[in-house]
């Protein structure tokens, strides 16, 4: 008798934690996903009170739309660029601030973290000014070294403008992953490094053979997280800085979705882009998990 009520209490206790989250998850994640999937089968302007079922025509059209392909390419370019850029710099900073004891480590840690506190919108606007050809910092700086005033239109190349979005994206991301890696490095027992040093291992060897293997788990999480946030969130920086332009050269899936849904009134088509983002995010996550899986070393 007593055990039954105890069991029930236990379930109640568990349910108290799970149910609210589950409800929120269903309402704000599962339901919109299903809705989007539903709309992706319709030809709908997003404003009309009627919509026409067209099966998978939206997906067929997506396949034939060169801008979608470019957007996917740009997204993966940003993913790759950000992973490389952020991981190298974040790891470098994390190691520098933990392994080489120097006085101002705390100060620099705060400095590097600041971009994370700033909204991405502000970062976008800020970098727009840096890139401004007439009054921008970058051209003014470069002009110091040249005879004539430099007037490069950093966000207006005929192609490859997407490269210019990488620096702000990386700059904005470093702080968080640096803190993550600092926490991991600080968990490595000092004795490991002492032992290595006694054996004559230099800083590089220590980094390669002790630090990296023992923080690999955090690096893996970082890489996957960068990948996911970029595929889902590259929209913000693109929309603030270029709105996908000039001539669609910096379009990513998110920005093209917005463009299609709210500027060109093809809500159904936009929904199918949303489905594409979801599918690609899932597939890429699984692939990344597999690629990175084997090399984890656990600290016992």
């Amino acid at each position: 008798m007593r055990s039954v009520s105890e069991k029930r209490q236990r379930y109640l206790f568990i349910a108290a934690f799970i149910v609210p989250t589950l409800v929120f998850f269903c309402v704000f994640t599962i339901y919109p996903v299903i809705q989007a999937l539903y709309y992706s089968f319709f030809d709908w302007s997003g404003m009309s009170d009627t919509k026409e079922f067209i099966g998978i025509d939206n997906f067929k059209e997506m396949w034939n739309d060169p801008i979608v392909l470019r957007a996917v390419g740009n997204d993966y370019f940003l993913v790759a660029g950000k992973i490389v850029g952020i991981m190298i710099l974040a790891t470098f900073f994390a190691v520098a601030l933990t392994r080489f004891n120097f006085k101002l480590a705390g100060f620099f840690r705060s400095i590097f973290f600041i971009p994370n506190v700033i909204s991405v919108v502000v970062i976008g606007v800020l970098w727009n000014f840096i890139y401004n050809p007439q009054i921008g910092f970058l051209n003014a700086f470069l002009s110091l070294f040249t005879e004539e005033k430099v007037t490069i239109t950093w966000l207006g190349f005929t192609s490859h403008t997407i490269w210019m979005l990488l620096p702000p994206a990386i700059w904005a991301g470093i702080g968080f992953y640096m803190i993550l890696l600092i926490a991991a490095i600080q968990n490595i027992p000092e004795s490991y490094y002492e032992a290595a040093e006694l054996e004559g291992a230099g800083q590089w060897t220590q980094f390669r053979s002790i630090t990296v293997p023992l923080i690999w788990e955090q690096m893996k999480v970082s890489i996957i997280n960068i990948m996911m946030t970029t595929l889902n969130g590259s929209f913000v920086i693109v929309w603030i800085m270029t709105e996908g332009g000039p001539d669609n050269s910096t379009q990513v899936m998110g920005s093209y979705l917005y463009q299609m849904a709210f500027r060109q009134y093809h809500f159904g088509f936009a929904a199918s882009i949303g489905v594409l983002i979801l599918v690609l995010s899932l597939v890429t996550t699984v692939v990344m998990q597999r690629l990175l899986r084997h090399e984890a070393v656990e600290l016992s």
Partner: protein
């Protein structure tokens, strides 16, 4: 270590729950702002008052028919502000004491009311302006009431025929009228008269004089011309479209054919000639290289700082930048610069329209409101309170409207000006024209490729 991981996971989970919550919060706000139940009593008397349509009788409308029930007006608040709307709605409500007039206005109203349009429960009357609201799309979606028959002989509260007092006639969609232009504004090119006087530059009157003075300006180290490449409809509206009309012997029907998705119109030599004028500006180095990547505000700031001598813009510019205009700055304006010497100026109008919702509950009140606002008295009032010319013919010279508004109004009523009526392109075609023009200004494509790209899209949307 394991503990750490758990903490990290927990933290992540917490973050994930907070994110949707944040979204939820803002959703709530939106709903709060856009509440106002439209479903409420579309009282039977509203439909009983059907003869209100005939209130077009010369006598003041309110004496003819009593309007009752609820009546809701949706208006976007942008550069023109909401002073006029507040005033005219209050006056209309006072004239119709039995009518419960509601207003939903604001800078975000188009988005806020969207669910109601989708749900078939829209406000009765809508002012179509600002983002996320496109008249052509609304017509295609069947959201707007067909006003063709009603407007044919509708008279305003003063007994004037509405069609007669409109400066610009409504756009027709397959011969039908759904929306009436309320604001009449013009695209064009601005400069600073004070600067031109100081430096002895001649004000442009045609393309050649524009090119000549631009060379002079360039020699003085000022970039001649700037536009906003982030929103290429500025350059399309103030350079390309007027140029197409000028090259088409001042016949603007070519633009209407283009808007009607006729492929041949896009392949006309006039289009190519107009594009080549932009190419000439580009190749002579007159276009500020910064244009391609900046938004309208940045381009306007650079213009006000005399980094650029000319800017493509609309007549709202002085109002929009009122706070940043340097002392002594004197706006000069011409609707088009691409005409041949001695040719007519072409004014590409930019209008904002009003319409009646097809699914509205009180169409009679909405029509009565149309009769109320399209009166000569409102022309001056609009110009005064919103700082823009209205689409109602009427002498505003004695009103308190700003000087440039009066000048513009004069320009738009001058018989020597070719005035292009409101034209809304299909959104896909419009977007492609904008992107292609951007590509053209940075030398990525040729005029022929511009035509090819745009006609491909036209053929597709057709």
């Amino acid at each position: 270590m394991a503990f750490n991981k758990k903490m990290a996971a927990l933290g992540l989970a917490a973050a994930m729950t907070i994110v949707p919550l944040a979204g939820c919060g803002s959703n709530d706000n939106n709903e709060g702002a856009s509440e106002s139940p439209g479903a409420s009593s579309a009282s039977p008397s509203a439909s009983a008052s059907a003869p209100a349509g005939e209130s077009a009788s010369p006598s003041p409308s309110e004496s003819a028919v009593k309007l009752t029930g609820d009546f809701e007006i949706q208006y976007f608040v942008g550069g023109y502000g909401d002073k006029w709307w507040k005033k005219v709605i209050a006056d209309f409500a006072a004239a119709n004491p039995d009518l419960n007039v509601k207003e939903s206005g604001g800078p975000k109203i188009n988005e806020q009311n969207k669910p109601r349009w989708i749900g078939g429960n829209p406000p009765d009357f809508v002012y179509i302006d600002g983002p996320n609201l496109n008249d052509r799309q609304m017509v295609e979606d069947g959201q707007l009431e067909d006003l063709t028959d009603w407007l044919k002989d509708a008279k305003n509260v003063d007994g004037d025929k509405i069609l007669d007092i409109l400066a610009q006639q409504p756009q027709q969609y397959d011969g039908k009228i759904y929306n009436i232009p309320l604001v009449l504004n013009s695209w064009g090119v601005f400069w600073d008269k004070a600067l031109f006087k100081e430096k002895g530059y001649a004000e442009p009157t045609d393309f050649q004089s524009f090119l000549d003075v631009s060379e002079k300006i360039k020699a003085d180290g000022i970039t001649p011309y700037i536009h906003t490449g982030k929103y290429p409809y500025y350059i399309n509206g103030s350079i390309l479209y007027p140029a197409i009309v000028s090259n088409n012997n001042d016949d603007f029907t070519i633009l209407q054919d283009m808007a009607a998705n006729k492929v041949e119109a896009y392949q006309s030599p006039a289009v190519l000639a107009a594009l080549n004028q932009i190419v000439e500006m580009r190749d002579k180095g007159l276009i500020d290289k910064a244009s391609i990547q900046i938004n309208h505000t940045d381009s306007q700031m650079m213009f006000l700082q005399h980094k650029d001598a000319f800017i493509s813009n609309g007549l709202w510019l002085p109002n929009e930048m009122a706070k940043d205009v340097p002392e002594g700055f004197d706006f000069g304006f011409i609707p088009s610069i691409t005409q041949k010497p001695g040719g007519k100026v072409v004014a590409n109008t930019s209008t904002a329209t009003v319409a009646v919702a097809k699914n509205g509950k009180n169409k009679e009140a909405a029509k009565a409101f149309l009769q109320f606002i399209f009166s000569k008295a409102q022309a001056s009032q609009w110009a005064e309170l919103s700082g823009a010319p209205s689409n109602i013919k009427g002498d505003i010279s004695s009103s308190n409207a700003p000087n440039f508004v009066k000048d513009a109004a004069r320009f738009l009523t001058d018989p020597n000006t070719v005035v292009i009526p409101t034209i809304t392109f299909n959104a896909d075609v419009d977007t492609e024209m904008q992107n292609a023009t951007d590509a053209l200004t940075i030398g990525k494509i040729t005029p022929e490729e511009w035509v090819k790209r745009v006609t491909d899209v036209v053929a597709k949307v057709k």
